[in-house]
Symmetry: C2
Subunit: 497 residues, 2 copies
């Protein structure tokens, strides 16, 4: 069979993306998988990383060919994916995500004695993960959603993205090998591949699925949210959907070096044809001479930039339509248009300037290298515009020390609007670490209380259970007084040293 139509259902390769078989196997595997010790589960995650590395060359070749992204970028993504798996292995070994809390019995308390109450997190159950088009590895088959769900103790059924079927299958094979090597039930991981939306809808409405991870378009995410909410038993959907990632340039930042800053901005805007969730689609620039210099330099840089082939024809078409719509909007002028790349689906970058009154009309994400610049008079002018923006993944502030008073006020507005605030950098490039937030208020994501990148992401796939007066002999290991896993626990509200 060709990998283009291969699904892997509980270890078995087949051409039918049999959702019921995959979810049934996942549900059956759940009790064994969630009972693994931290060491067993961590070793399994590391083994997934090792298996991916073992097929590294083939995976890079497939993903690069299918995504039209450069091999260097894909190689970096392999490292990110395996690093992410190893980070979650470390998280599992440390075990803080289990959130153990112990309120010991107080038999002599008056007027009533207090029972012994212990709390830990348990995994939700089988999780459906939808691979993203723009990160064929790090946000796909064994990407952040899969790694964090597996780390939490949840079996995973991946809906592979049809834009990179071969890369998806190769990674799925690597995960499958790791499942088998660990002696785990094969249902811990399945991979279904289909080009339509039916398989995805079937997955989200399957009664055995208990949560969903998704990275993609707003329309796709909202459809999954609606399907999940309409189930007899609704389930959480963690959909990372759309963001235009506002950048605020403060006056001090361009007082010297407007040209360098403009060049760095256009580098971020056009990186990978702008196909990043964190692409800086909107930039607020001071009015006046220095702002003019920045804009002129940005225009020159965009004019000199050349498009590269986008991920899919559909994405390139949506980009063309979106940039045309922006250019045709009243109050919007085109600052610069770059060069189309060779071949199909490599449209030119575009930079436009929009009047502040048109902000709403240009606030929908255009996925790709489409930049919008809005000029502002003063902070008083700017703050209400920022407050009116929809929820975003990131906001960037370009400052000098002379701007700090204004920047502090910006933080207060932006931290209610975005998942990550960054200073004097660019939002493209999302570090995988413990402090990262790749999330944000609706519609950046469907659930702003969490993140899809970084170790906090594991908390999406678990829920707390309290154990009251459960006899020591049959307590789960995580909550036992002898603490066999060496966990840091909260006793009577205080973390133990």
């Amino acid at each position: 069979m060709t990998t283009e139509h291969t699904s892997i259902i509980a270890g078995v390769e087949q051409t039918t993306p049999d959702v019921v078989a995959a979810t049934t196997a996942a549900a059956q595997a759940f009790s064994v998988y969630r009972a693994t010790t931290p060491e067993q589960r961590a070793a399994f995650l590391e083994s997934v990383a090792t298996e991916i590395e073992a097929d590294r060359e083939a995976i890079i070749a497939a993903a690069a060919a299918e995504s039209h992204l450069p091999e260097g970028r894909i190689a970096g993504e392999v490292g990110r994916t395996t690093g992410q798996l190893r980070m979650f292995a470390d998280v599992v070994r440390v075990g803080d995500h289990l959130g153990v809390r112990i309120d010991p019995a107080q038999p002599d308390r008056a007027p009533l004695p207090r029972a012994d109450i212990r709390q830990r997190m348990v995994p939700l159950g089988p999780v459906a993960v939808f691979g993203a088009s723009n990160f064929p590895l790090a946000f796909s088959t064994a990407g952040g959603d899969t790694a964090s769900a597996l780390a939490a103790g949840c079996p995973v059924v991946v809906k592979g993205h049809p834009a990179h079927p071969r890369a998806g299958v190769l990674v799925a094979r690597a995960v499958t090998l790791a499942v088998a090597a660990a002696g785990l039930p094969a249902g811990v991981f399945s991979f279904v591949l289909d080009e339509g939306i039916e398989v995805g809808q079937q997955l989200v409405t399957d009664p055995r699925i208990t949560a969903v991870g998704f990275t993609g378009s707003r329309g796709g995410g909202l459809a999954l949210v609606a399907a999940a909410a309409a189930r007899p038993v609704p389930i959480p959907v963690y959909a990372e959907m759309s963001s235009i990632n506002p950048v605020v340039v403060l006056p001090g930042a361009i007082a010297s070096g407007a040209e360098d800053l403009a060049a760095a901005y256009v580098d971020s805007l056009t990186l990978g044809s702008g196909q990043f969730c964190t692409n800086p689609g909107l930039l607020f620039l001071p009015k006046g001479e220095e702002g003019d210099r920045f804009l002129a330099a940005a225009g020159r840089a965009v004019s000199a930039a050349t498009g590269t082939q986008m991920l899919t024809s559909g994405i390139a078409e949506a980009y063309a339509a979106g940039t045309q719509r922006q250019a045709a909007t009243e109050g919007v002028t085109v600052v610069a248009t770059g060069q189309a790349g060779e071949g199909a689906d490599a449209p030119a970058p575009q930079l436009v300037e929009a009047a502040a009154e048109q902000l709403d009309a240009v606030s929908d994400e255009v996925f790709g290298a489409a930049g919008v610049v809005v000029r502002y008079d003063s902070l008083e002018d700017l703050l209400p515009q920022l407050a009116e923006l929809e929820g975003q993944l990131t906001a960037t502030v370009q400052t000098a020390e002379s701007d700090h008073a204004d920047a502090a006020r910006l933080i207060e507005v932006l931290e209610l609007k975005v998942g990550r605030i960054l200073f004097n950098g660019w939002p493209t490039g999302v570090e995988v670490g413990h402090a990262m937030v790749h999330g944000g208020p609706f519609p950046a994501t469907s659930d702003g209380r969490t993140t899809s990148v970084g170790s906090l992401a594991i908390e999406r796939f678990q829920r707390p259970v309290a154990y009251q007066d459960v006899p020591t002999a049959i307590q789960p290991a995580a909550i036992r007084d002898d603490n066999p896993w060496g966990l840091t626990r909260r006793v009577d509200g205080r973390l133990e040293a």
Copy 2:
């Protein structure tokens, strides 16, 4: 004006429950309120407790008269309410809920340097809280939802329950006094009172409201969930809705003392006319002689029990209809009926036995002292029945040491089904502490990833924000290296001592 129609909008008593005024004031108060230091916020929460105690006698008298609950029970609820506020003051001072994570910069990392990234939780914004009928204090105006939202830094608009308007207003006045005494903007707390559902719907769909806490019926909770999901910007709804709190009696538990256990069961079943979310509505009992003895004793205890006046006529009518429906179900036999109490709305407790095949037909919550007993042959017979139950707040296991092997298997099934598992006790009586979970999978609650009782409840009202390369001079205090609040932080994934 009579308190029956009093709302308190940002400190002003009026007869119109003006939702827009309340939410507008809340939104305006948010920036000042969330900027309070841990000490300021903790002192404010303690002051709310103090103000409630200052009007303790009047509050108890009003709540007892309106709810028909005994004064002693209401007095206990005052203590629980003030204790809860003080617990959250302690939580705020400790500050672990801020979840501070720091991944320090690595300027020399290859191939790319790492930025300095810091994370903390920020409050969501104004929260709508719906008071519950059955706990006029602890789950109402200044109850657990309000206390945890205020602790998180969120202004609160309470929709008072029309079953106890005077108690609601008195408590709202106490909160209002504390807000003023702390010098906080009056919009930090408002209280709207109305007998219809319009005000509640208006509150949940108001664009300034960012989250909802609710304790009540399944119908009411699902209506709020639907309204919140249909907003242009959906918001989380934490609705605690319905539960029949299964009890499993294992053979050892009745091998000696079946009569005592039966009496304790009926005490829990009939406590407060059974008007608890955690009322043990369903009990699984072994077939055989000892089970027969337990059931006969439970029947005698129910026969001897007398109803007390329920919270409202509507609740009493729903109880009457529900118990009649249970009694009329094929395969269900009435074991015993108690005595109706004096006056209106004091229906008799009822105990029925249902064939296992009828489990589904008797699994809807009948709010009140309505017990269902189902007999089982063996654990193999029982486990699939438990697995088929809907999500529940609690499950109780009655055991002796001889049952431990079976009990361990029960835990594995029950922990995927409920929020709290308790052994050899009764589910009524929910300890307010750090390890408590008062929550559970749908439909026990609308969001099983959390709890509405205990200190973890604060996490419902916040979300993470990452700060990347933000200059030290303008970092929020929680994430600064000098750690002015003395927080325990996670640095590079490890909790600091």
